[in-house]
Symmetry: D3
Subunit: 137 residues, 6 copies
């Protein structure tokens, strides 16, 4: 069993808030992250997959294919987008890094399996001081 990790990046705007709360209530709970005019981040996404090494290639998975899958399923949807407004798999959810990691897992899981590997971890880094990891359960 071997684990390989691919890093991809996306820049996006978001806002932490509940639509059923007033701006004042949102400010109290979410602080400056609730700014109604949005703010944004350079997100880093680390996708770790696991499986057996294929003796005929020396690979668990061709990294170019893994990168292509991540870009098509996740990065196109998020990069230079507003997470609250424009990202299908985040609709109806709070745009937190936790929910982002869980959402990205959902976008990737099946395709990774179809490539002959298993999704192990989705790690989303929001800043140099904060990151979230989700292992699918």
């Amino acid at each position: 069993m071997i684990y390989i990790t691919r890093r991809e990046r996306f820049n996006a705007a978001h806002r932490l808030f509940r639509p059923d709360f007033s701006d004042e209530q949102n400010l109290e709970i979410f602080g400056k992250c609730s700014n109604p005019n949005w703010h944004g981040h350079n997100y880093e996404l680390f996708v770790t997959v696991k499986g057996e090494v294929d003796g005929s290639t020396g690979f668990l998975l061709n990294l170019k294919k893994l990168s292509k899958v991540i870009r098509e399923k996740v990065i196109i949807a998020l990069d230079h987008k507003n997470i609250n407004i424009e990202v299908g798999f985040m609709q109806g959810k709070l745009a937190s890094t936790e929910n982002l990691a869980v959402g990205i897992w959902g976008e990737l899981e099946e395709t990774i399996i179809s490539l002959g590997a298993e999704l192990h971890c989705v790690k989303v880094s929001e800043s140099e001081n904060n990151f979230v990891e989700y292992f699918g359960k």
Copy 2:
């Protein structure tokens, strides 16, 4: 003459566009950076000041004071804000990294002088692949 540099960070939303252009025209010139729903970045700001070392402290400038000035004059205005809408010194300008660097210089220059040093460079990094430097002329 010695040069000291302080790094500060801010997370902000922005959009590259001209209000006199249509969304289509803006897309053509500014690409995905023109997204009407905004996107954002973790900006890094490096402020370099120069001057003589003060023999009584061993400092050009107390870094705590320099950090305080940068935070009060620049970071509070930019952090978790929308650069196009909410940042006074960016009003009426395109929200490019170039204009941001020039704008930040304007916010800092006088106060740095009042601290007994000279502003040498404002460097703004928008991503790990891009940064802008402005030397005041």
Copy 3:
């Protein structure tokens, strides 16, 4: 189950030595790290907590609260301090990174639980080439 990690930093002096040994014996075992005049590091601390996402906030834990706890319980005690002399939870212990990680775990565990999460890992990085991880058992 989601994992979130917060990075905090502290700069401290320390010395690796046993008080029951001579300087020569300490030099033999601990090398230049036993310098009786101390040396120091920019330590990086990564605290990982785990738990369920709170549907009402999208958070496992408010990162501001987590950061505040780490600062109050750990960083204030360590930052710009001499680990051997001034840090209560390190008294009577060798000032190694291993003992530091275990000690920091002890300072944080209960408070993290009181915040509704579980402490998962304390990682202490002493330099770009060395780090220690402790998982509580």
Copy 4:
């Protein structure tokens, strides 16, 4: 149980290819990584060992000893070398990062045990975007 990690680095040339394939076939499977004239990388190696802290030193393992073992068993064999041609433990294998991680594990496992610790993970980073982890099974 504590985990300590040591980073070491090596610069090497390699080529991804199967000797039983033509250059065209290798290009199709391995892309530009199959260049018959080689290419190369600054590899980063992270070796994680685990065990109990020794009360008499505060260490799981003296990091200088761990570094010396990694250098003698692995880095000397790989640094400024051609992985396909010159590295004994990689002969007859595809020079992928996956196989490199497994091969390095084999070079280190016994010696780590003789030092009183257990090898936990070999992580090999080929670029800022890709890394492989192997846990020995």
Copy 5:
């Protein structure tokens, strides 16, 4: 006058040697970098251009265009290549980082001018500990 910098990366093999010297002589002068079987690096290239901000775009230069030029003129020639054998602008030169920086300058200078800016600096980083800068004179 504003300065913008774009980072691009390439992975390549090379060897430091003089064809008129024996392997022994090359080893004496160039050390392990003279390995006849090659070694390689993850090079980082930082291209800095300078000029006036265009009031109609807020840019000195569209970074996408700058990136495209660097890729077409330099990265395609170097990435996953053997610098000694396959890179046109390095033929007949020692494959040192110094010569690489000067060679890349030559490939870029005219095209940068045709884009309305001026080439200011080519910086080539061979490892985390070494880099070379060339300012064109």
Copy 6:
């Protein structure tokens, strides 16, 4: 004219204080950096030299020689040392990063010239947020 930069690192303890001041006065001026029990840092040192490329080697300067000079003249004196007490060229000076950069310049200048190059810049980074540059005048 080409510029090459070598990074070296040292870990040291220090204290910012004036011996003619009381601890209270030092605390007022230098803050927590004046802790009488010391604190410390992982310093990074970047030494930039300039000169002409030697056609027979492709080098401005053999980086191994440059590294050796920096280690022998500077790193041995500083690494795992107390800057205030044990470093000859810092005696009688405040142990600030500014004075460290100027002091390191003095230790290196002549030897760099004897190697056929010119010292251009000494950069000392005390933390990820602060660094000092000295250009010799």
